[in-house]
């Protein structure tokens, strides 16, 4: 009961911190991978505390399968866009924004978001499919 109350209060802060880590990847330590893991951990915390059954009702498993593929798709599309605008694969400075530095910034942010989506979705899929029904 106490654990459930504290978990309910903690999860928004963990998720906010995860978004901060993803967004500040080019200024400080962290990035898409770490932020995605932290975001996935907040969902896993909910599953551990409230049980697999309730977690399954809240998160549809198909959505997470889809998100895992979507992150890789975002990464690849950004890479191919760079080729489309006369660059090599993942050469962000060729993206059509006003400033090459702005292009690099936005391109890197897009692929960090892609990595984060894939990592957090796959972590949740891991927990749902590896854990047995009774024990977690």
């Amino acid at each position: 009961m106490i654990i459930q109350y504290i978990t309910r209060k903690m999860i928004p802060f963990i998720q906010l911190y995860a978004l901060y880590v993803i967004a500040h990847g080019d200024l400080g330590p962290g990035g898409g991978f770490q932020g995605g893991v932290i975001f996935g951990t907040s969902l896993i915390l909910y599953i551990i505390v409230f049980g697999l059954e309730r977690g399954k009702r809240l998160f549809k498993l198909k959505v997470f399968d889809f998100l895992g593929a979507l992150g890789v798709l975002i990464y690849t599309i950004v890479g191919l866009l760079c080729i489309y605008f006369d660059g090599t694969l993942l050469e962000y400075t060729k993206l059509p924004f006003s400033d090459p530095h702005l292009s690099a910034h936005l391109g890197i942010f897009a692929i960090e978001v892609g990595v984060a989506i894939t990592v957090s979705a796959v972590m949740v899929v891991f927990i749902f499919d590896i854990a047995r029904k009774k024990d977690v």
Binding site: I48, D65, V72, P100, A104, H105, I108, G114, I127, V136
Partner: protein, 177 residues
């Protein structure tokens, strides 16, 4: 002094995790091992690696081990010939000791930690350190290496994670639920 203490703690934790027959406490000790490794990375000024070690090594991999533990027994079975000193164990330990001493002998030729004249600090590293700000405008050059200069590797890494997820779904998901 602190480094020596951390090293001793790491060795103690690793041996404990190997020899403990209760798998649950073995997993918890591995998590503590990762936490000590986080401190070691931070002392080596590798903050990004420390961040990854804390979130993945101490966090998610512990959870994945625990959920894998829910599919097996909690105690390790003690094998019969594990404790006896037979000829295979003797040969195996001989090979391990030989390989270890060759590897330690190899480190004598390596440059000191953080040596200014070391090849690794002169060939490609200055290009990343100075080029990150000039070419891309990214302050954290670890991120610019991962996402821009070595972006193809990171694409492969993301694909590996996705493939692992697909493999888990194919092998373990039950359709009737």
């Amino acid at each position: 002094m602190v480094d020596l203490l951390l090293l001793v703690l790491l060795v103690i934790f690793a041996l404990y995790a190997v020899y403990e027959t209760d798998l649950l406490s073995s997993v918890v000790i591995l998590s503590a091992f990762s936490l000590i490794m986080t401190i070691v990375w931070t002392r080596l000024n590798a903050v990004d690696v420390a961040f990854t070690e804390a979130s993945v090594g101490a966090g998610v991999s512990t959870i994945i081990f625990l959920s894998a533990l829910s599919r097996t027994k909690r105690r390790e079975e003690i094998t019969r010939n594990g404790k006896k000193l037979n000829i295979y164990n003797f040969l195996a330990s001989l090979i391990v000791i030989f390989t270890g001493s060759v590897l330690i002998y190899g480190t004598f030729d390596m440059p000191d930690f953080g040596d200014f004249d070391a090849p690794v600090n002169n060939a490609i590293a200055p290009r990343y350190i100075y080029g990150s700000m000039a070419e891309l405008g990214i302050k954290n050059f670890v991120t610019s290496i991962l996402a821009a200069y070595r972006g193809y590797d990171t694409l492969g890494e993301t694909t590996v994670i996705f493939t692992a997820g697909v493999a888990v779904v194919i092998l373990l998901r039950r359709r009737d639920l």
